[in-house]
Subunit: 233 residues, 2 copies
DNA sequence: GAGTGGTCTAGACCACCCT
DNA sequence: GGGTGGTCTAGACCACTCC
């Protein structure tokens, strides 16, 4: 057994973490194969298994590793989806939409509350966007509750905006706020990510050709899965 | 001593974390005053101090708490700066710029490498943007190394674009990629954030009126300090 | 010197997966 | 049944701050 050389500049779990990071970058631990177990790493580095677990957990939070209880810890495949920033971008061919829920509730997200009415019960449509049988985005749309039922029925199948367009209601102005925030319990479950995992979010307010209809919402994805692109002017 | 009621739906450290979150939201633990020490919380919740520390560390990662060794743990003031998405937005009056370094190096960030030349030594200007004596953003600018020295000298004082404008070189097109990524060791130190803290980033490529000059860079801030806004069309 | 958070350890138990 | 990661504990040491 070869004792690896750890950089002593920092605490033990930091040294272990950085050494593992180097190995991942070097391809020593390829994806699709479990990395050595905590017990093995503990022996190899001559540190307690607690310290190994601490390093592994930090690398999970950074999106580098993913641990599956009972199986092992794996290097995460780094594939970022690049999308237009504007929420109005037409859907990609290889994505599908699954409806999660349609409810009536008030806007609870504090940041969305800055660009949308807070204390008003609205129609709330939640859906997930999938690609290659993996969830890549989650959308929460709020709009006026007095929308015709024939439109509401279509919300499950397509984006709210697409459904509105089919009824000759189109978006005239879009206001966006981009931020990052820890995942809520709801999306943690959907994406299978650990608590507090950062989400890249686009909060939107869309004015339509129908003066009575304004659409609000949040379109979000795990930070390591998405990047948005835009051009000026 | 009143034993608090913990929701038993989850693991211990999760229950503790959520109870602390509730108290913070309710204002039980105001900012500027240290919350009870790990020893006190350990006694109050009747769990080991390790478990308390685990909960506190997760709340730190979420940007809710900040611990200062030897002093205590504090509720973080949640003040997000809202800025225009376009990097070209004029500087605010109450911000100041501090130069960090001017070097010659290749672009190392892999994401920036997708919109900029990778294997070319460039002039690299790093600076921090401060507001109320706190660092709020960090900028890394890359540009062609054969820029006149009289322009380079101004890079320390103002944004690279502002310096170029003073020499009649203005930006004609901006291409942006917005993403979120764990903080690098360099910016960890500047912002005083824990390892892997998520950063909201804007990676830019700017074409100028001078065909020989294209500007690349990364403008980033801790995810809980910044949000960007933009309007379409 | 007392109190604080940060680190590290050994040891135990559990739920889960695979064979 | 053996291996995996996840959780929890008691106990120890350190560096730091404040009085």
């Amino acid at each position: 057994m070869i004792k690896p050389q750890l950089q002593p500049s920092q605490s033990l779990h930091e040294s272990v973490r950085e050494e593992l990071r180097r190995r991942i970058a070097a391809g020593t631990y390829p994806p699709d194969v479990a990395i050595p177990s905590t017990a093995m790493l503990s022996e190899e580095f001559s540190v307690s298994s607690i310290t190994i677990k601490r390093a592994l957990r930090d690398l999970q939070a950074a999106g580098t590793l993913v641990s599956i209880p009972g199986k092992g810890t794996y290097v995460k495949q780094q594939k970022r989806l690049l999308r237009q920033l504007d929420v109005m971008q037409p859907s990609l061919d290889d994505t599908s939409i699954r409806s999660v829920s349609v409810t009536r509730e008030k806007i609870s997200d504090p940041t969305l509350g800055t660009i949308a009415p807070r204390d008003q019960v609205m129609l709330c449509v939640r859906k997930t966007i999938w690609m290659d049988d993996e969830p890549i985005m989650h959308d929460t749309t709020y709009l006026s509750p007095d929308i015709g039922n024939e439109v509401v029925d279509e919300f499950g199948e397509r984006f709210v905006v697409d459904a509105l367009v089919r009824h000759s209601i189109h978006v005239t102005k879009t206001h966006l706020v981009i931020d990052a925030a820890p995942a809520t319990a709801e999306v943690e479950e959907i994406f299978g990510i650990p608590n507090g995992y950062p989400m890249l979010r686009r909060l939107y307010r869309m004015v339509t050709s129908d003066p009575g209809i304004t659409v609000y919402g949040v379109l979000q994805a795990p930070f390591d899965r998405l990047a948005c692109t835009v051009d000026f002017p």
